[in-house]
């Protein structure tokens, strides 16, 4: 749980430090002294200034034949990632990995759907399945508990570009429910608890498909235990930390509609 708090604070800091978008910082009207301050003049005299001519065009995806002083070639430039804060996207992912639930490690499969800005905030809906591992039946005379937990939730994700390449990091906070189902000797037990998640993700996208690596913290409020004949058969803590790797697919990427202030629109 403390880990989740630290993560949420970090996410808040990250969102504060993110570059402001144009729509978020409307231009303030100039007031008071509107004169241009004195500035030093250019160091090149106007006489020596000549227009650029015969410069080679620069194409983003082709090597250029040019004589270089020491030979060699100029490599093709990497594709520039889309400008994040002006791009909308819808992303679907599927990740799998282990989740640690205080002493026990369970298998987790999780999928989420995010919609929002590539760089900035997105809405998120997720659902997961956590299969509780059980001891070997032959070594457990009191029977085994076969459990499945299904966390389902919605929330927000703050995403930022980590490098010039299409590598993004994100932190989210979601709230929802955890549906618990367990079977023991034909007897089925069901529970529903509130559930909160803080997914931290690094995603690398090539075209519309990418790889995601995620650390997912979760908290389902109630610790749970199954006992048989006074002996504990199954116990899971409410707090969990999962590590998941998987693929994501950007269902839609589109230019965000730039929202301008009325002042600018009206001239």
């Amino acid at each position: 749980m403390p880990g989740m708090i630290v993560t949420v604070l970090w996410a808040a800091t990250m969102s504060v430090n993110a570059p402001p978008s144009r729509s978020e910082t409307p231009a303030e009207p100039l007031e008071r002294d509107t004169r241009v301050p004195d500035t030093p003049g250019p160091t090149i005299s106007k006489r020596d200034q000549t227009p650029l001519k015969n410069r080679l065009p620069v194409t983003p995806d082709a090597a250029v034949d040019v004589d270089l002083p020491f030979g060699g070639e100029v490599n093709a430039r990497e594709p520039s990632p889309p400008v994040g804060n002006s791009t909308l996207m819808a992303r679907l992912d599927l990740l799998a990995g282990p989740t640690w639930r205080t002493r026990q490690v369970d298998a987790m499969l999780t999928t989420s759907l995010e919609f929002g800005k590539r760089q900035g905030f997105s809405g998120s809906f997720h659902t997961s399945m956590i299969a509780g591992t059980t001891p070997d039946e032959f070594l457990s005379p009191l029977g085994t508990v076969r459990s499945f937990d299904f966390p389902i939730g919605v929330g927000a994700v703050a995403r930022g570009r980590l490098r010039k390449v299409a590598l993004y990091g994100s932190v989210g906070v979601t709230a929802g429910i955890l549906v618990h189902r367990a079977a023991h000797l034909g007897q089925v037990t069901r529970r529903v608890d509130p559930d909160f998640r803080v997914p931290i993700r690094v995603a690398w996208t090539i075209a519309d498909v990418g790889v995601s690596v995620s650390i997912i913290q979760g908290y389902s409020v109630r610790n749970r235990a199954y006992e048989r004949r006074g002996a504990e058969l199954w116990r899971r803590h409410a707090y969990r930390v999962g590590f998941a790797v998987g693929l994501h697919y950007d269902l839609m990427v589109a230019k965000a509609r730039v929202r301008r202030s009325k002042r600018k629109q009206g001239g």
Binding site: S140, A182, H184, D193, V221, Y226, E227, R228, R229, G230
Partner: protein, 574 residues
């Protein structure tokens, strides 16, 4: 919106840190049933078949005696005894007579099986248990719980001889004109020459609780229990982890695993002269009676079998293996063989007699008997087997105790405590007082250690009421000098025994430090019948126990022998 958020936050805070512990033990929620008169604990062995193939079945739950013509499969008489007579063992006498031990009455009833009349009732002792007919002298030998062995005339009930022996006598067997006696808790056999023959145990199990002793082919057979002498865990988690080493995952073992019996199991010993041969009966639940034909087939009355299971099984006398189960609809508590080799079985509930002409695989005929239903939920919980194969009655046979000293891993040696002293108002229970009330005891012992079902509150209450009703009267067989008893009572107060052994039960209401341990003060009711004494069974005799307690609780290290005799005499009257 603010209210919703506040409410959600409050609910979240309330849930945070909650433990959702789900108990997977099965819960019995059936409506409890209590008959008009609640039945007594099962004593078993209340049936005999005469040489004329007349079955005489005593029914202690209804205070009835059923007379059945076995070849005709017909009830000829149903004899109503007096309320509380508690009929037990039956023996054939001369002519058409049969004699029934009346535990509640404290004597014997003589019945004419042809006319169906009770022709005499004779008082013998406070708690008669076993009976045998001596053809040579036409007398009856009656063995009593208090150690009394009385020989009375069959014709008029006059006392021929009375001896007072060690307490806890059970059966009397006449074989070759000689008289053998069995002791219940110790499962020993007193030979005619006065020697006590103890049964063979093995490295782990010790014999005890001689339910039934009878003659067969010039030998004596004893149906008894075997109790574990190895350390017994009481922590369910530890027992579960120890599964690889055996124990079925339950602290008290069993669990249906034939190779790993529970801490108390069934055995049959064949005593031929000085030689004894004991076979364990794997998987056997509470078994209270046995009968054998001349071909090695032994029928076992197993009323402690789980509900819905067969309560009669046949086994081979040589290896103890079950050969077949008899699918009768009833809780069989007594079995006997007819002169033609047929097996006759008596079911207490519903009241029925079953006849199987051919052992093992023969057809079973049913003879319905009279009497109201006596199904009782508390009685069932006490006697029916749990997942471990054990029932409460396994360690508390006849609703008392097995006299065994268990080696509990976390506690040390602890002698089984009796439950027939009127347990109401004696909480906390167990020697260490670690069972605060019956609910705790049923959850911890019945469900967790033995593998029984959890009981609904209504059923648990019904069980408690039934158990608290169990209280036997004092067994005063020794007839000690009245002056000595009076002096003993004064000394009992003088040594300040009354400060702990207080109340109408003379104990059972407080936990007191004794020799550095906090122990529940036991009731002294019927204490003389329950060797070995003390919580760890370290005192073999009552005198030793009195001496031990005086030395432990007072500054007197060596009390005078006369004081010991007097206090012991007083205790024998309780």
């Amino acid at each position: 919106m603010t209210r919703v958020a506040t409410g959600f936050s409050v609910a979240l805070m309330a849930l945070t840190g909650c433990q959702d512990v789900i108990d997977l033990d099965p819960l019995d929620t059936r409506v409890p049933v209590e008959p008009r008169v609640r039945p007594k604990p099962i004593t078993g062995g209340t049936l005999t078949v005469t040489t004329a193939s007349i079955a005489v079945a005593a029914d202690p739950d209804r205070d009835l005696v059923h007379i059945v013509d076995v070849p005709a499969r017909k009830v000829t008489h149903t004899i109503a005894l007096e309320a509380g007579d508690d009929p037990g063992r039956v023996v054939q006498g001369s002519d058409n007579l049969a004699h029934v031990v009346l535990r509640g009455f404290g004597g014997v009833a003589t019945i004419d099986v042809v006319s169906g009349e009770v022709i005499a009732r004779h008082t013998v002792c406070s708690e008669p248990r076993g009976i045998a007919f001596d053809e040579s002298s036409t007398s009856l030998h009656v063995a009593c719980a208090d150690g009394t062995l009385a020989e009375i005339s069959e014709s008029n009930g006059e006392e021929i001889e009375r001896q007072v022996m060690e307490p806890d006598l059970r059966d009397v067997v006449m074989l070759g004109g000689a008289r053998y006696l069995s002791r219940f808790r110790e499962a020993s056999l007193l030979q005619p020459n006065g020697r006590t023959q103890k049964l063979d145990g093995d490295l782990r199990f010790a014999p005890g609780v001689a339910w039934r002793t009878f003659a067969n082919n010039d030998r004596i057979m004893m149906l008894h229990q075997m109790s574990d002498t190895a350390p017994v865990p009481i922590d369910p988690a530890a027992a579960s982890e120890d599964f690889n080493g055996g124990g079925g995952g339950l602290p008290y073992g069993g669990g249906g695993n034939l190779c790993e019996p529970g801490i108390s199991s069934v055995a049959l010993s064949i005593i031929d002269g000085d030689a004894t041969h004991t076979v364990m009966v794997p998987g056997g639940a509470l078994t209270v009676d046995a009968a054998s034909d001349n071909e090695g087939n032994i029928a076992l009355a197993m009323p402690g079998a789980a509900e819905g299971s067969a309560t009669v099984v046949f086994m081979d006398e040589h290896d103890g293996c079950f050969t077949t189960e008899v699918p009768v609809d009833g809780q069989v508590t007594a079995v006997a063989t007819a002169p033609d080799g047929a097996f006759v079985m008596f079911s207490r509930e519903p009241a029925r007699l079953f006849v199987q002409e051919i052992a093992v695989f023969g057809d079973v005929d049913t003879v319905a008997l009279q009497g109201e239903a006596v199904y009782d939920s508390g009685h069932e919980i006490f006697h029916r087997a749990t997942e471990s194969g054990l029932s409460c009655a396994s360690c508390h046979p006849e609703g008392t105790d097995d006299g065994h000293v268990w080696q509990f891993l976390e506690l040390g040696p602890r002698r089984t405590q009796p439950v027939d002293i009127g347990l109401e108002g004696t909480a906390p229970f167990h020697w260490d007082g670690d069972m605060g009330d019956m609910d705790v005891l049923m959850g911890e012992v019945l469900a967790h250690r033995m593998g029984g079902k959890r009981q609904s509150d209504e059923r648990a209450d019904s069980f408690s009421r039934w158990l608290f009703e169990q209280q036997r009267p004092p067994a005063r067989g020794h007839n000690d000098d009245a002056a000595l008893v009076t002096e003993g009572e004064s000394l009992f107060a003088g040594y300040d025994c009354v400060s702990c052994h207080t109340g109408d039960k003379l104990g059972g209401v407080r936990t007191t430090p004794i020799a550095g341990k906090d122990l529940q003060v036991p009731s002294l009711r019927r204490v003389a019948l329950r060797p070995p004494f003390m919580h760890d069974g370290r005192s073999e005799t009552l005198d030793d126990a009195v001496r031990d307690m005086i030395a432990t609780t007072t500054s007197i290290v060596a009390p005078p022998d006369h004081d010991i005799d007097a206090v012991s005499a007083y205790l024998r009257t309780l």
